[in-house]
Structure formats: C-alpha cells, structure tokens
Symmetry: C2
Subunit: 278 residues, 2 copies
C-alpha cells in the first residue's frame, strides 16, 4: 500500500476498534455522529492524503483532506487525526521513511503558507477549541480564512502555531515532540496480540489511562479529564468493564477524541513501517 | 463526492450494515475473513475505481481495482461487488448519469481486451466459481491470464462472457438485465427509513428473501440456497431474529455473497444519484 492508502486505512481501523470509551466505534454511535460519518470522512480525505504523498505542502494537503473529510453530515470526524497523519504521510514520501526525525524535519520546514491553509481548514468544520491568548485574539482559529492576513503579517509558521497550542492540545504536542506518543503507540500495536481491531481498542485505553485527554479537558475541565483517565486505568486492569465505561462516557458526553487521533496516527506509522498488517 | 469516492464509500457501507446473515459485517467476522480485510479491500480498490472514473476501459479498471483490493490477508473480499460497481462508475463518468440505459451502453461497448483483463483479475484472488461448460474448458476463469490466448482467439467480449455466466451467477445476471436488482435496490434504500447502515441490512434481507443467492447455490447446492432465502423471508416478517439467523448461517458456512455484491452496487447507485446521503 502507498502512504496515502495506509493513512486512509488507519482512519478506518481507528474508528473500527471497539470498545473505545467515549468515542464512536463500530458498535457505538453518538447522537449526531455515527460510524458511517467516519467512513465517509475517510473516503473524502483520500484526495488530500494523496496530495501529501505527491509532495504538496503540508498545509495545502491538510486543508484539502479536511475539505474532503467534511463532505458528510456528521461534521468534524477526523480533523485532529488528519493533522497528525498528513505530516507523517509527507515524511513517508518526501523523506523516504516514517521516523521521528523525518516527521520533525517536515514540521520544521513548514511555512506561513502552511499556517494560512491550516486556518482555511477551519472553514470546513466546527472544531472544538479554547479561546486564544489575549494578545493573540487575531489568531483565533475559529476566524478561519479571516485570520489569514493577521497570520501573514505576523509571519507565523505552522510549527510555531503548534508550539503555541501544545500546552493545551495533545495533537499539537505531537508536532513539538517528534510525534512521541504516536511512535510509541505504533510500537505498542506491534507488540500486542490479536486482531488489529482489538489491539487498536487496547492502545486507546492505554493511552487514555496514561495521559488526560485534552479534548475532554477543553470540553469539561482538567479534573474531568483526569477522572476519565483514572477510569480508563481501572478498565485496563479489569476493575471495570471497558464496554460499560464506553456506554457511561457516551451517556456523560465525554469524548476523548484527541486520544483517538493519536491512535489513528499510530496505526498509520505501524502500517507504513510494516509493523502490523491487515 | 466523485463517482469513485461514492463507489469506495458504497463498499464500506455494505460491509458495515448489520446484521447481514451469513456475511461479514461490523459485528461478525468469519474465521479467516474479518471486517478489517474489507476495509483494506475498499481502500485498495480506490485506484482502480478512479481509473474507471477517468475513462479507463472497464476490464482494465476492474483488473486494477481487484489487484488493489487483494492486497490484504483475507483474499477475496469485494471481487463481485467491484464487477458490478466498476461499469456503473464508468456509466456515471462517461455517460453523465447512472441509469439502466447508461449501464447497458457500457456493457455493450465492452471488447475482447476487457475480457482479457477480466481473466487477469482472477490471478489476484481465489474466486469461488463453477466448472465451465464442457465445450468451453479453455475459457475457465480459474486459468486466469493463461486463458487469455483462447479468449482472444474466440473474440469473446466481456458482455458475452457475462451472458454465458448469467444463468448461474447473480452478478453476471445484472450485466444482462440493465442492473435490474441494483437499480431496484437503490430505490428501496431511498424509501426505507433510519440510518443507512440499518437500511443496508434490511435491503440485504429483502433481496436474499426474494431470490436464492447464487454463491450459496455454487457452494452448497440450489436447495440450500432456496432454504436460505426462506429463512431470510421468515426473518423479514419477524418469525425469526435476523441476528440469530446471521449467527446460524456463519456457523453453517453459508455465505450469501452475491446478494451482498448487489447491495454494494445499489448503495453506489443511491449515493451517486443523491437518493441517499451520509
């Protein structure tokens, strides 16, 4: 498979892993967000992923992938996952290998144009984000393309945008750490036994237990996020049933989506390196 | 979405419909054929579907789609579905609309080259087929590319090959009837209520009740196929539970795969015509 194909497959495998407490999986829909929306999101992202594979700049490929992904009625299905996977596809095709160094080289090569296209991507979907710092209100991502002049004036590269967001955002943090959890997750997928779908669910639970989910923190506060991680840890050691935890978190409206994004990226790395296969 | 994207989405939606008695669905794996193999099959078929959309001859696009589809460890996941969907993608892009007439025009325009590529497609996967007629042993599809010289000598178009197979093969029969069950199925999907995944499962059961599945007939005999249709009819009217029937057929090794192929094609038509959406 090509890098773009592995990326598309990673998106599909991520949403198929079950149970993934709090998220849509192949046995659980959320009220307005269903499994089939994720299928359509993965199909629609294909052209943008192929653009990344063919050498398009990261921001342009990402914007295109998000535009394609959003042509379904569930709105934002894979924004965060694509923000991780697109630079990794670029690393695979431009640098010939998916390694932390290659991924970091892609990050460091980003430009102001990449930032502008990143902002344009927010036009296509509603993404749950925090308010920006007071001195950077003009850079609020929710302004979408309207923020592009301010971005260009400040000359902020996409790597710099991600560094600013890293403290509060687990996806951005991957950009600043050589995709550390992504690469660790890929290794873990290779170590685990059983069908890939089961390993995906297990990795999700391990990552969630390991670190509070930043989407839950934005939605419900840091304490809530920490509590979700404790419950994931309890499910990991068999104190509670992961399926029950999944039902509970859906009912409570707690959605550890950032952790799912990292799982998708880990699946891509593991597939692309041949550490797992389908 | 483009025709190729709708086709890929149709493959994914088909396998996600549950319960689809006897087939892999998002809640049921077969021993050596799992849900994730179908995801990878749909991803891999993408390049061939895009070739059909770009005007490649049907046989060439089909062979390419099957080659891509088969790069997963479950072997044959979507051979029959692609044999229906590829000419329909061609109809959508070449003739500007997916109609029975446009599909028939694509079929009637097939050549000996299309037949040769159809035979080459059998090199990539194990497809369950009957013995050929005694006077046509040289045309046995299981010979794959080895049969191409005989195909070329006889000058058989792909439309003629399908007409020969139509009495015993429900996919080939669609080629000779203007894709009658496919188009009826698309209308039915639009009429039904609820999430597309539920409508998919319902259509599968209705088609199976309506006509014995030709793959079951090849695997286990016509009587077995008729009996499966009767059981599907009983499940439709609520006499038995579709989920139980699904578990029973999996246990009995009865796999109504041809009916699933028609469902995938119906999903494509309904998506492409905008009669259903995700």
């Amino acid at each position: 498979m090509t890098p773009a194909e592995n990326a598309q497959l990673a998106l599909l495998l991520e949403v198929s892993g079950t149970p993934k407490p709090g998220n849509v999986d192949r046995e659980r829909d959320l009220p307005d967000l269903r499994f089939e929306h994720f299928l359509a999101g993965a199909v629609g992202a294909g052209a943008g992923l192929r653009a990344a594979e063919s050498g398009a700049p990261v921001g342009e490929a990402f914007e295109r992938a998000v535009a394609g992904m959003s042509r379904q009625e569930g709105d934002n299905t894979q924004f965060g996952a694509l923000l991780l996977v697109v630079p990794l596809v670029s690393a695979a095709s431009e640098r010939g290998a998916v390694t932390p160094d290659a991924a970091t080289a892609v990050v460091e090569a980003t430009t102001v144009d990449d930032t502008a296209n990143f902002y344009r991507a927010f036009e296509h979907v509603d993404v749950f984000v925090d308010d920006p710092p007071e001195d950077a209100a003009d850079l609020d991502v929710r302004r979408g393309a309207d923020a592009v002049p301010a971005v260009e004036e400040r000359g902020t590269t996409l790597a710099e945008v991600m560094a600013l967001s890293a403290p509060e955002d687990g996806v951005a943090r991957e950009w600043t750490t050589g995709f550390a959890r992504t690469f660790d997750g890929a290794e873990r997928l290779a170590e685990l036994d059983g069908p890939l779908s089961d390993r995906t669910a297990r990795l999700f639970l391990e990552l969630l237990a390991d670190e509070p989910d930043t989407l839950v923190a934005k939605q419900a506060g840091e304490e809530a996020a920490e509590r979700v991680s404790e419950r994931a840890a309890a499910a990991l050691v068999g104190e509670t049933d992961p399926g029950e935890l999944a039902d509970e978190l859906v009912a409570e409206g707690l959605n550890p989506g950032t952790t799912a994004d990292v799982v998708a990226a880990a699946l891509f790395v593991a597939l692309e390196r041949g550490e797992v296969s389908v």
